[in-house]
């Protein structure tokens, strides 16, 4: 009876890293009516790590701001490299928080038979889209619309999220139906393919097209961290530096998201192997349960956040 418990633990543990998209409490309008005083869901170990990480992030944020400001006076190669390095670290830490990107990527990788290499492709793709979207939103609002910036960001966010979560719900629904009706990918079959991913047929797992298909909606909500950095550099009239910073942040976030994806794949494989052992039939069964669970999480996550945007 330990084995179903293990699968349950897997699903519960993975659901823990599923974060939500929170609005900016300062500039949002009439959001999040609250009842209780504390609703924090964080464990004891996190309390310790939190006390370590929050100051690190604040330090990174402050150094990035002051280095960017220093660059305005004298633009040196060393200074540019330092900004890039700080932005990279900022991205790595920034993506470590709860966020919808990792939720979507994780449940997608649970629902599909992906390779470690593919988790890196998907991770960096999501991060690139996430940062590019932030850059685009800021540039459009800053140069073209010139209204109240924070309100503009909130509004743009609202519409992008509406479309994003509708697409995610749809992808989740299609996957859920397919996984419920069809068979899971057999483990043995997985080893037969040695060619490049994009050259494989649809049955062989994830194609480049399907990776792009999930990375776009997973990343297109503009990263609020990148928005802040870009706006900061723009306010100092440093467009090139803002692009440098946003690229580095994207690279950093991609590293974290990829690592999360790789862990999801490893845990999925390990848990299935631990539960099924050498039984091919049991392997198929459990794989199917995990994949249906992943698709269900993707579908429900999309639906809940879509409804929240209405």
């Amino acid at each position: 009876m330990k084995r179903p418990a293990l699968v349950l633990a897997l699903v519960l543990a993975s659901s823990l890293c599923f974060g939500q998209e929170v609005p900016n409490p300062f500039t949002a309008q009439n959001t999040r009516p609250r009842t209780g005083v504390f609703t924090t869901i964080t464990s004891g170990a996190a309390a310790f790590l939190f006390s370590l990480m929050a100051p690190v992030q604040k330090m990174l944020n402050e150094s990035l701001a002051s280095m960017t400001r220093a660059l305005k006076g004298s633009r040196s190669l060393g200074g540019l490299l330092l900004v890039a390095a700080l932005a990279l670290a900022y991205g790595i830490f920034h993506a470590a928080g709860p966020g919808h990107g990792k939720t979507i990527v994780s449940s997608f990788l649970l629902a599909n038979e992906g390779k470690i290499r593919q988790s890196f492709i998907i991770g960096y793709l999501v991060a690139a889209v996430h940062a590019l979207s932030a850059l685009t939103v800021v540039l459009v609002l800053y140069y073209l619309i010139r209204g109240i910036f924070a309100t503009g960001v909130e509004q743009a966010n609202h519409y992008i999220q509406l479309v994003t979560f509708a697409v995610i719900t749809l992808i989740g629904a299609v996957m859920l139906v397919r996984r419920s009706m069809g068979k899971a990918h057999s483990h043995a079959h997985h080893h037969e393919h040695a060619g490049p991913d994009d050259a494989q047929g649809p049955e062989a797992g994830l194609t480049m097209k399907s990776l792009l298909g999930i990375a776009l909606p997973a990343g297109v909500i503009p990263c609020p961290g990148a928005v802040a950095v870009v706006l900061f550099a723009l306010s100092l009239h440093m467009l090139a530096v803002s692009i440098l910073a946003v690229s580095s942040i994207s690279l950093g976030m991609g590293t974290t998201i990829s690592a999360t994806g790789a862990v999801v794949i490893l845990v999925k494989r390990g848990a299935i192997r631990a539960v099924a052992g050498a039984h091919e039939e049991r392997d198929m069964k459990i794989r199917r349960v995990v994949e249906i669970a992943g698709a269900a999480i993707l579908f429900l996550f999309g639906l809940v956040f879509f409804l929240a945007q209405l």
Binding site: K2, L6, A9, A13, S14, L16, C17, G19, P23, N24, P25, F26, T27, Q29, N30, T31, R32, R34, V37, F38, T40, I41, T42, S43, G44, A45, A46, L49, F50, M53, A54, P55, Q57, K58, N61, A65, A96, G97, P98, G99, I148, F149, A150, T151, P224, V227, A228, V229, L231, F232, S235, V263, V264, L266, V267, G270, A271, R273, A274, V275
Partner: protein, 200 residues
Amino acid sequence: VRARGAALVVVFGTVAVVAALAHPHVFINNKMTVLFDGGKLKGMTFRWAFDDMFSEMILTDFKPNVDGNFSAKQIATIKGGAFDNLENYHYFLAFFIGKKPLRKIRIEQFTPSVVEGSKLIYSFFVPLDLPVTADEQTVRVTVYDDTYFVAFDLMHADDVVVKGDEGVSVGLSIEKTKVKPLWPGQYMPDNLVIRFKESS
């Protein structure tokens, strides 16, 4: 084999815990003043100093005068556009008067300002109006955003000053919150404990 699977779950659990950590976009240094006057604990002033990037974002929308101050009209605009919504978040404040939580937090004298040319400051007063008596009373306050959008610096003893406490005996300490955790080990932020009574 099972041990290996269990180990993987533990690894993943740890990653999940790390992932559940702060994802803050705004960093605030919070300073407090406890104000006594006319035999009462009148209330507390909070002074929030924002990080440069968030300051810039707000100041892009709400420009101060050249001297760094805002006019009454500008203050009203900032309050409406970038402060009032915090009511939905209890203004990130949890007060306990004795054992009773303060359900409704009132805000007075909201004043934004800019220091060092670019740093945004919010300060405001929360009235409490608690008569000082011969019996010791306790007020606990925690400053904390449970959505993790905002990270407040950890509380230190020198973040708080007491004013107007003639004839009042006041004791300040920082301790773990007394709010009951929902499960063992749940993260609970520190809180400021104010104990006060008439001085003999």
